[in-house]
Amino acid sequence: MSTKLLICDDSNMARKQVARSLPDGWDVELSFANDGVEGVEAIKEGKGDVLLLDLNMPRMDGYQVLEAIVAQNLPTLTIVISGDIQPEAHKRVTALGAIGFIQKPVSKEKLTEVLTSYGLFTLPDTVPSIEPVVEKKTTTIKVDNSPPDVGLPSDLRDCYQEIANVAMGRAGDLLARLLNVFVELPIPNVNFIEVSELRMALSDIENTESTSGVCQGFISAGISGEALLILNDSSFKDIASLMNYTENLDQNTELELLMDMSNVLIGACLKGVSEQLDIQFSQGQPVVLGQHRKISELIENNASKWKKTLAIEISYSIENYPIKCDLLLLFTEKSMKTLNNKLSYLIDS
């Protein structure tokens, strides 16, 4: 009898990646859910003996799905596949009954290993059946082969979002370890915007609050851009105490903290992106955009150079602390061609 397998992830690309990473020859009946609400529905309809669950989703996130499974005693075994790889996230989902925790991007080896270790999948060493593979091809996966044009069609946006999601998770994990806290990860915002719209894109930062920022250029063959880290000035006090800075909080210590944060977040995020796209970035030296300034003043100097930019905005916040920081990855318009090519390769492979 085939196993009923449910993949629950808001990203189309992530769902495909997971579906592709299923062990060869596993007899499954595959269903997909776009978010937690659909996921719980599908389990209730008996479509999910095994659930492969993402954590970061709109409407109802992975934690809430796990809670619902426990509360309603739903018959499913859950393996979490997450971009959020903080040890605390792992601990929390385990406490909520997930049996496995796999970090994104998922690989066939890892998924097979975890499924095997829980006896959900056994290598079909007796009769290698071909049918399930055929059946898998008839599932609802729709691979979009349309050529990527310069712009941001929804399937590409979805890819960028998923890539940002994984990169954000890496950076969040380092931040969590550096500060010894739990970092709340948002759903990254991906937009192809005019640079003049950048300020509006920074929706999470209130205009009235003064901010400090650092920027750092990055480049790889055909892809270049800048990373901006913007920190609300009110966050410094808590960050200082979390980092065990004992000195008085003056402009200089704040600059140290800003640099520490940007080293960790920009570095890890770029690493996350570059690993997924299989490229390497050179990072320029960071430059202070300003301290105790309005957000509009921080970014005004950059505004005249580019027309359009692919902006990935990630707003980190820290559980139980009023710390707010925004990481922006801005890719130049020229980078779009190479980026889209890399991505279409990721979708199709």
Partner: protein
Amino acid sequence: MSFETAQLNELHWLMEMLHNIDVGLVVLDRDYKIQIFNGFMENHSGLFPREVKDKVLFDLFDEIHQEWFVRKAESVFLLKNKAFTIWEQRPYLFKFDSYRPVTGSSDFMYQNTTFIPLLSATGEVSHLCLIVYDVTDNAVHKQSLEQVNKELSALNQIDGMTRLFNRMHWETCLKAEYKRCSRSHHLSSLVMVDIDHFKKVNDDYGHIAGDEVIRHLSALIQLHARETDSAGRYGGEEFAILLPDTALKSAYVFAERLRRTVNDSIVKYNDIEIKYSISVGVAEIDANMKSHESWIESADSALYQSKSKGRNCISLYKNET
């Protein structure tokens, strides 16, 4: 040339480049003992690689703030992540002399540094590579630019002849004060001052003497005003002084003191002795003033009263309603 020789050559060239590149390269082990020290470091520190080999970085270079450095380095060891420091944080890591001792304007070399984790075969960070960049020119330029900008923006607010605020900046101050008062219901007063028969001074003694009178009055205003007051040149021979947190009565005391001092003064220009007087109008802010302009109008109308009363006197604006 065999393949191996070619590879050896490449390696040799690479080593040669690293030794000669105009960037400092240092490799440290887990205990901060120096393992590699390139030519740039050797030449700028005056220490030979054999002298520093296996020595702890902090023992050789007193200028390195150990706690600071370790904090940065440990995060690189722990997180396997690059770290960057810039001269704005600390001007330098190694206290080296400026590269241009003759024409350079800095005594020391400003530095940016990059910390790169070096992985061992087991995937752990076993060593750390330090890259030291000379950014003296950038730093000096940025600092002088900031200094110039600061001076420019100050200049932009000052009236050249009187050293008081110019009208534009003074009005900005007034607007801010008006807003502050309407929010917090503080009492502030505005004093408008005009030199009596100034045209006659100019006609009788010439414009240069007139300027001397204007400078004389400006200096007196500067002298009598408190640090928190904003004094500005409003027009040719018209001045305005904003007295925050000052009720009408106290503003009158200020104005009267100024009027009397002017009246008792003699301006000496070459051999000419000039006597002059001023007329003053004072207005306290009140809730009926719908904008900062109406505050100015009120003080102006009081000033006009002083003029029509025969000059060399003070009038207080009274709200008729």
